[in-house]
């Protein structure tokens, strides 16, 4: 069953002067439990695609259905609420809140969701342990390595029990060992807990791990390959 369906999605910048098509009539669907990489050269529309899927940007045309909800029709407040309950994000630059500890960063979304303290503490600890940071719960981001920060970001993305996780170039700022470690964790979460991951990436290691690779060029899908 598809959890995401994209129909005729387009995004045009500078529509009134010289139109630039970041996405041009894209049709795509994702199933629960997929581990998908979106690849393509710079400017091909990968980040725009992820922004659209995450409801961070509004399309110029088309529809994005997530679990039966057309998110392109939601108002700003509804969209923020929808993101909080359904979508997890992992950013290239980690983007943890610097004044919060690892634990506080992870439980931040659960607080927004109104999860009670006992449940929050339990889940936060589980998540940080699952990404190998059980010992760092009270450490602030500036005392963590890049790899550790990105693992906290993964734990944060999982905290709200989202339907899928969008990861924009998650290994771009990591050394190879940290990147490998992060990929193993995400692959394990995908395999064992059936969590859907969608990456945009240039990293061949991520592409190698992905079970489906969607290639974009000039805002269009030029290939969509599923392994096995």
């Amino acid at each position: 069953m598809n959890i995401i369906e994209i129909k005729n999605l387009s995004k045009v910048y500078d529509e009134k002067t010289i139109p630039v098509y970041a996405l041009n009539g894209v049709d795509l669907a994702f199933k629960q439990g997929e581990f998908t990489s979106i690849v393509g050269p710079s400017g091909s529309g990968k980040t725009t695609m992820l922004n659209m899927l995450g409801g961070l940007d509004t399309p110029s045309g088309g529809k994005i259905m997530i679990d039966g909800t057309d998110i392109t029709g939601l108002k700003s407040r509804q969209l923020i609420d929808f993101r909080m309950r359904n979508i997890g994000f992992v950013f290239q630059s980690f983007n943890l809140i610097p004044v919060l500890t690892a634990k506080e960063n992870v439980e931040f979304i659960m607080q927004l969701q109104g999860v009670d303290r006992e449940q929050r503490d339990k889940r936060t600890l589980e998540l940080l342990q699952s990404v190998g940071l059980g010992e760092k719960i009270n450490t602030r981001p500036n005392k963590l390595s890049g790899g550790q920060q990105q693992r906290v970001a993964v734990a944060r993305a999982l905290a709200s029990k989202p339907k899928f996780i969008l990861a924009d170039e998650p290994t771009a700022n990591l050394d190879s060992k940290s990147a490998e470690n992060l990929l193993e964790i995400m692959e394990k979460l995908n395999r064992e807990e059936n969590i859907t991951f969608i990456f945009s990436t240039h990293d061949s290691r991520v592409v190698a791990k992905a079970r489906r690779v969607v290639t974009l060029e000039d805002g269009k899908i030029v290939s969509d390959v599923s392994k096995n």
Binding site: D57, D81, R83, M84, F89, F91, Q111, R156, S160
Partner: protein, 406 residues
């Protein structure tokens, strides 16, 4: 992580900037409070001197008397008026007076004088007249003698024990004439008063002016002078407005009030400039803080925090910085204001001489009142709140995808 804790941690992520902003607010509120405290202390001190030297806080006259101070504009001092005054809980002392001009004569000298008929005990309680006696003794109740001011006595060449002849026009044009023994000489630092005052018992003056049971003014002092506005309004409502006028001291002493207002306005302009400078300083901090954190705002909104909540946290941050400056500013200013309220500043030089020549002690106490402290605190909070408009607008206009790539 509560909103308050998050805001508190956020403001300390750049300690130097937060401390500088809080310090500018500290300095602004500190200086503003000291300047206002000096101004209000000066104003209150002068007001108290004016009140205690003659007028009282409030006076009741026959309607139109203050504009035309003629004995024919005197009023009957009856029980109903006394009852109205006594019924007001804030009225402390009352001094009935009958005042009018007369011609004085001693041997070959004559001079116009201001004759004040009063109750010696009540007058002394208000103006401490007995302390001004330099020769002879103070007027006793029922005594048929008079007190003469030193400058006038000197001009006429008389002293205590001599007899002064007074001539004048009484109530409804009746001739007024009499001779009165001088029981004492009083000295007023103000030359205007020192050269023209004659005091006698109220009953003696009423007899001299043929104005039986009449007075020209009823001076009142108040238990709480800060309530003068409400008390005057209450008295106006109680007395017959067609017959009487109720006037505050500042309505009677218009020249002094206007001079004080001019001085106060100057001080307020200085404080306004100070606040403007601080306001721009705080605004600069807000702009820097907002621009530095645009990506972070994008992340927070992308993971699910509503923009309104984020804006509220930002406002909270600014209020916390504002309160840090405010609380320390007020905490530093309060002991200074209290100390100089209890131990007034001694004025020196030509200004001190000017004070003394008007019978005023050359002291300047500082005021310590909740109303001006709170109004300055509120002003700073309003300034801080206004500076929040910019980041709040930025947050509501935030495009998350763009912010994430800042």
């Amino acid at each position: 992580m509560g909103d308050l804790r998050l805001a508190w941690r956020n403001i300390w992520r750049n300690k130097r900037r937060t401390l500088l902003t809080a310090a500018s607010i500290f300095l602004a509120i500190f200086l503003a409070l000291i300047v206002r405290s000096l101004q209000i202390g000066w104003f209150d001190n002068l007001a108290e001197i004016v009140v205690q030297s003659y007028t009282g806080h409030i006076q009741i006259h026959k309607k139109g008397y203050w504009d035309d101070r003629d004995i024919n504009n005197s009023m009957a001092f009856n029980d109903s008026l006394a009852a109205v005054v006594k019924s007001n809980a804030n009225v402390d002392k009352t001094v009935p007076r009958l005042e009018y001009f007369a011609l004085s004569s001693f041997e070959k000298q004559t001079k116009g004088v201001m004759l004040a008929g009063t109750d010696p005990l009540k007058e002394d309680a208000l103006t401490k007249l007995s302390a001004k006696v330099v020769k002879g003794h103070y007027l006793s109740t029922g005594e048929n003698s008079i007190l003469v001011s030193q400058g006038l006595a000197s001009y006429l060449g008389l002293t205590a024990g001599d007899t002064l002849v007074l001539l004048g026009q009484g109530y409804h044009g009746i001739s007024a004439a009499g001779k009165y023994p001088v029981c004492g000489i009083v000295h007023f630092p103000s030359p205007v008063l020192d050269n023209q005052m004659v005091y006698m018992n109220l009953a003696t003056a009423q007899e001299f002016f043929s104005a039986d049971s009449r007075i020209t003014s009823l001076s009142l002092t108040l238990k709480n002078p800060d309530e003068i506005g409400n008390t005057a309004a209450a008295l106006k409502a109680e007395v017959d407005g067609g017959k009487f006028e109720v006037m505050r001291w500042d309505e009677m002493m218009v020249e002094i009030t206007q001079q004080l207002k001019v001085k106060t306005a100057g001080g307020k302009i200085i404080i306004a400039i100070l606040y403007m400078i601080v306001g721009f300083g705080v605004f600069g901090t807000v702009i820097m803080m907002t621009n530095e954190r645009t990506r972070e705002f994008g992340v927070i909104v992308s993971v699910g925090m509503q923009k309104s909540k984020l804006a509220m946290i930002l406002v909270l941050e600014m209020i916390l910085i504002g309160l840090t400056g405010l609380i320390t500013g007020v905490a530093f200013a309060m002991p200074i204001m209290l100390y100089f309220k209890l131990n007034p500043i001694h004025i020196w030089g030509s200004m001190a001489q000017a004070f003394i020549s008007y019978g005023i002690q050359p002291l300047m106490p500082l005021a310590l009142k909740a109303n001006f402290i709170l109004s300055n605190v509120a002003t700073v909070l309003v300034i801080v709140s206004l500076t929040c408009i910019y980041p709040v607008r930025r947050i509501f206009k935030l495009k998350v995808a763009d912010a994430l790539h800042k």
